[in-house]
């Protein structure tokens, strides 16, 4: 009574390269990356959308890749932590994470970084969060700042407790990116 395996061909554009795969339909984007493409940067912390370790950018938006079926993402553009640097040139967020020691064990770090890339873009695009002032004009860039960053980064757990350093790192990168309109910082360790 061998059950049939349901598999499908998909093409994922991962870090700019087209990758053609045949996936068991139960395969998540996370498992496709880790087990079929040997891109182990995206981490599996829970496999249930509860920790953010698997965060990648899908068509420019940050998503928990453990919650996405690969078969449903045929044709998607996916950026993983391996795709953030420009050759030997690290992404400003990667530099900031090193400088601020915004990681310890490093297991949540790829998810934090991909999430932070998404956060900076969301703020620049004027997408409000739960802590954005209600009177903030829609469509205008939301100024960075500790409260905004903390709120938006709260889907990425870090059991090593690097949060305050992560906020500093994201804030540094936001400052570098935004120049003026940068919301400034409060508290933190450094």
């Amino acid at each position: 009574m061998e059950a049939p395996v349901h598999a499908s061909p998909v093409t994922l554009y991962v870090n700019g390269t087209a990758r053609e795969l045949v996936v068991d339909n139960r395969t998540t984007v996370l498992d496709a990356l880790r087990e079929q493409l040997d891109l182990t940067g995206a981490k599996k912390g829970c496999d249930h959308g509860q920790c953010g370790a698997c965060t990648v950018l899908v068509d420019g938006l940050r998503m928990n890749s453990c919650l996405l079926f690969a078969v449903a993402r045929d044709g998607a553009r996916i950026t993983t932590v391996e795709g953030l640097a420009d050759g030997p040139e690290l992404h400003p967020l990667q530099e900031a994470f090193l400088e601020r020691d915004a990681y310890q064990c490093g297991y949540c770090t790829p998810g934090q970084l991909c999430s932070a890339v998404g956060v900076l873009e969301e703020m620049a695009a004027g997408r409000p969060s739960a802590v954005t002032a209600p009177e903030h004009p829609s469509g205008q860039a939301v100024p960075a700042g500790d409260t905004e960053i903390r709120e938006r980064m709260s889907g990425n757990l870090c059991r090593c407790g690097c949060y305050v350093n992560i906020v500093r790192a994201v804030d540094d990168a936001a400052g570098a990116q935004a120049g003026a309109g940068h919301g400034g910082s409060e508290g933190g360790a450094w």
Binding site: H48, C105, G161, N165, G188
Partner: protein, 706 residues
């Protein structure tokens, strides 16, 4: 020479680039041809026997390669930890214990096969509930860490009865789960007669020796690699069942096998901090001087293995206490086996002791900082030995200054912002200074530069970097001339990354090997031989020769500010500041992260982490990260850590004390003391929940002005 390379400087982690680019490979991330995936099957009863296993449907799942259980798994040799004796018997000791293993071509197939395994049990009545008067309570021979179970000094009962102020309180801490972000994970490969294992572990040698016993192999035939480890917090300090299962499956199938423990199975399988009930009694005079201190701990272990959280031990060492009683009682329940979690004993024990100190301060009307200063002691009360260094008072004073403690109105409920009640609290921190023998090799390479080898583990502490700094300093060489190998059982043996003793232990061996190498080099003339020149070091004698006339301990003080919503009872941290005295700090950047990381976990313990043992099913109710809440970024707005210079000749050549655990010690008491200051409600059972505060908040609640 670049002084920034030396110890003390905030060198960026050597593996930092690998970690931020995703290049660092963890235990199940090594590409291996033909690697299979394994998925464990947990027991569905809390106690009893498996009577039948039906694997037919599981084996029929496409992609299934094998299903292992006690009926067909290879027999194992006796391990030191009986938790590792997996799939050897039909007995079930706790719900969630592994009883079978599905092995398949893909993770999807393995999971489906595991779900298709059918088990029948003969269940027996179980008991999973800890009570203060549990009939099974007994005095273990020793408690975790090898400490004595009970200690008595003076005449506690007499002194307590005669005290002007008497405090008698009980504190409860629920089970707590380590939940490192990388689940416990292993990849096993049999290469002929050799076994190669990539394991997410805090000590490769510890894994090697257990696997040697289990599989009847010479340790030299086993290589355990733990190069990058995604956190552990004690739970990876001993090998866990998944590594044995991976090895069994790889042997059975003749192919490499990887196994990552599913998150929702971790609470049962990887160890946890057992719940404790702690009674603290303090007798003091009108000046707040303690004369009598009793700290009595009740906890549990599983039926598999005795583990007794040594929570009363801080009371043996923190404060002057002429008359003292400290005891531990443990009972064996049908529950998962507890084990190490960051600062075992110290962390839960100091929640109770430091909460009681705050209560004593309130009762006597003495400032909480001041009352600790008045009970400071230059000698460890229990041993009578002087401390090799103890700057608790300086930590308290410096913390108070930085935090802005002075002028604090001690009355509860006196600060409000709108509908938020604001309060501040303080607690002391402490952690023993441990050290264990280690070996290391230092080699001057013919091509130039040095190679340092030691089986240390960097679980996120920065050990790799600090050890390279120690070598650079000992060799008087720039850091970029040092190449360091760690995290591999083929390297010279080092102890586990635990007890905050890693840097002291491995570092001592590295330091010694480097010094020996310098002597060898001085005697050598001409060019180096092709294989370079090596020196080996073993610190067994040095560690044994340490004077036992001293008590060695790190200290600190933490100050918390919280806000409590008077309508909802929600407590949020506003800021947390710690000052520590932990010997010489070897890398400012990573040390700060260690302190802050511990403090952050302490906030999590105080405000969000909660686990419940379900009496009916013998299961932890909060098994995954949606149910078991660890603090998120928005919960931890402002954490600052500082440290004082501390010279101590009685430690090790680096003059360092461990810093990995002290940050979590005392934090929860600082938070609950701040909650008391904000609301007048004393929370003696963690975590702080709205339902504990709401009845007491009515007093402060003012009608909302609309």
């Amino acid at each position: 020479m670049n002084t920034a390379d030396r110890t003390g400087e905030g060198v960026v982690r050597l593996e930092g680039r690998a970690k931020v680019t995703g290049a660092a490979r963890y235990a199940v991330e090594h590409p291996l041809d033909g690697c299979l995936h394994a998925w464990p099957v947990p027991a569905g009863i809390a106690r009893g026997r498996i009577t039948a296993i039906d694997t037919e449907r599981a084996l029929a799942e496409p992609g299934t390669v094998a299903v292992l259980s006690h009926e067909n798994a290879p027999r194992l040799g006796e391990p030191e930890d009986p938790e590792l004796f997996v799939l050897q018997s039909p007995r079930v000791a706790y719900r969630g214990q592994y009883v079978a293993l599905a092995v398949a071509e893909t993770p999807q197939a393995a999971r489906a096969a595991a779900a298709a395994v059918r088990l029948e049990y003969a269940a027996e009545p179980h008991d999973v509930t800890l009570t203060g008067g549990h009939p099974g309570l007994y005095a273990p021979e020793t408690v975790n860490g090898g400490y004595p179970t009970d200690r008595e000094r003076g005449d506690f009962d007499m002194a307590f009865a005669a005290s002007e102020f008497r405090l008698d309180t009980r504190y409860r801490i629920p089970p707590l789960h380590n939940h490192p972000m990388e689940p416990h994970a292993s990849t096993a490969v049999w290469e002929g007669p050799r076994l190669r294992v990539y394991d997410s572990a805090q000590g490769a040698h510890a894994v090697q020796s257990e696997l040697a016993a289990l599989f009847g192999l010479e340790p030299e035939r086993i290589t355990v690699v733990s190069e990058h480890v995604g956190g552990g917090f004690g739970s990876k300090g001993t090998p866990r069942p998944q590594v044995v299962l991976a090895c069994l499956a790889a042997r059975e199938t003749g192919r490499p096998v990887k196994l990552a423990v599913p998150r929702h199975q971790m609470a049962q399988i990887v160890g946890h901090r057992a719940a404790t009930e702690q009674r603290v009694r303090i007798g003091a005079d009108g000046a707040g001087q303690i004369s009598a201190l009793a700290h009595e701990v009740v906890t549990y272990s599983s039926t598999v293995r005795e583990f007794t959280e040594q929570a009363a031990t801080p009371s043996r060492t923190m404060y002057a206490s002429p008359h003292s009683r400290t005891t531990h009682r443990v009972t064996r329940l049908d529950v998962p086996t507890p084990s190490w979690m960051r600062a075992p004993g110290e962390c839960p024990g100091m929640f109770a002791l430091e909460s009681a100190m705050d209560e004593l301060a309130v009762t006597t009307g003495i400032d909480p900082v001041e009352i600790r200063l008045r009970n400071d002691t230059a000698k460890e009360p229990d041993s009578g030995h002087p401390f090799s260094s103890r700057r608790l008072a300086d930590c308290l004073r410096e913390g108070a200054r930085r935090f802005g403690w002075e002028g604090r109105d001690p009355r509860p409920g006196t600060r409000a912002e709108g509908r938020l009640l604001i309060g501040t609290g303080v607690a002391a921190s402490g952690y023993p200074v441990y050290v264990a023998p280690a070996r290391a090799t230092a080699r001057a390479e013919a091509a130039g530069g040095y190679r340092i080898e030691v089986d240390a583990t960097d679980i996120g502490t920065g050990a790799r970097t600090v050890l390279a700094q120690i070598a650079a300093e000992a060799l008087a060489a720039p850091l970029d001339r040092i190449r360091i190998g760690i995290g591999n059982s083929d390297l010279p043996k080092g102890p586990v990354a635990g007890g905050s003793m890693g840097t002291a232990s491995w570092g001592w061996a590295v330091h010694k090997a480097c010094r020996a190498l310098l002597r060898t080099l001085a005697e050598h003339s001409g060019p180096l031989p092709e294989e370079g020149l090596s020196a080996h070091a073993d610190t067994s004698d040095d560690v044994a020769a340490r004077s036992d006339a001293y008590a060695r301990r790190a200290f600190g003080a933490q100050f918390a500010e919280v806000q409590v919503d008077m309508d909802t009872g929600e407590t949020r941290l506003r800021r947390l500041l710690g000052v520590f005295a932990a010997g010489r700090v070897l890398n400012a950047r990573t040390a700060r992260s260690q302190f802050i990381g511990g403090m952050t976990m302490g906030v999590s313990m105080a405000l969000t982490e909660h686990s419940t043992m379900d009496a009916e099913f013998g299961d932890f109710a909060e098994r995954d990260l949606a149910m078991y809440h660890v603090a998120v970024n928005a919960d931890v707005p402002d954490v600052q850590a500082y440290w004082l210079d501390e010279e101590d000749q009685e430690l090790n050549p680096m003059g360092s004390k461990g810093i990995g655990e002290i940050g979590i010690v005392g934090t929860a008491a600082a938070v609950t003391s701040a909650v008391h200051h904000a609301t007048g409600v004393r929370v003696r059972e963690l975590p702080v929940l709205p339902e504990s505060l709401l009845p007491g908040l009515a007093e402060w609640r003012r009608p909302a002005v609309v």
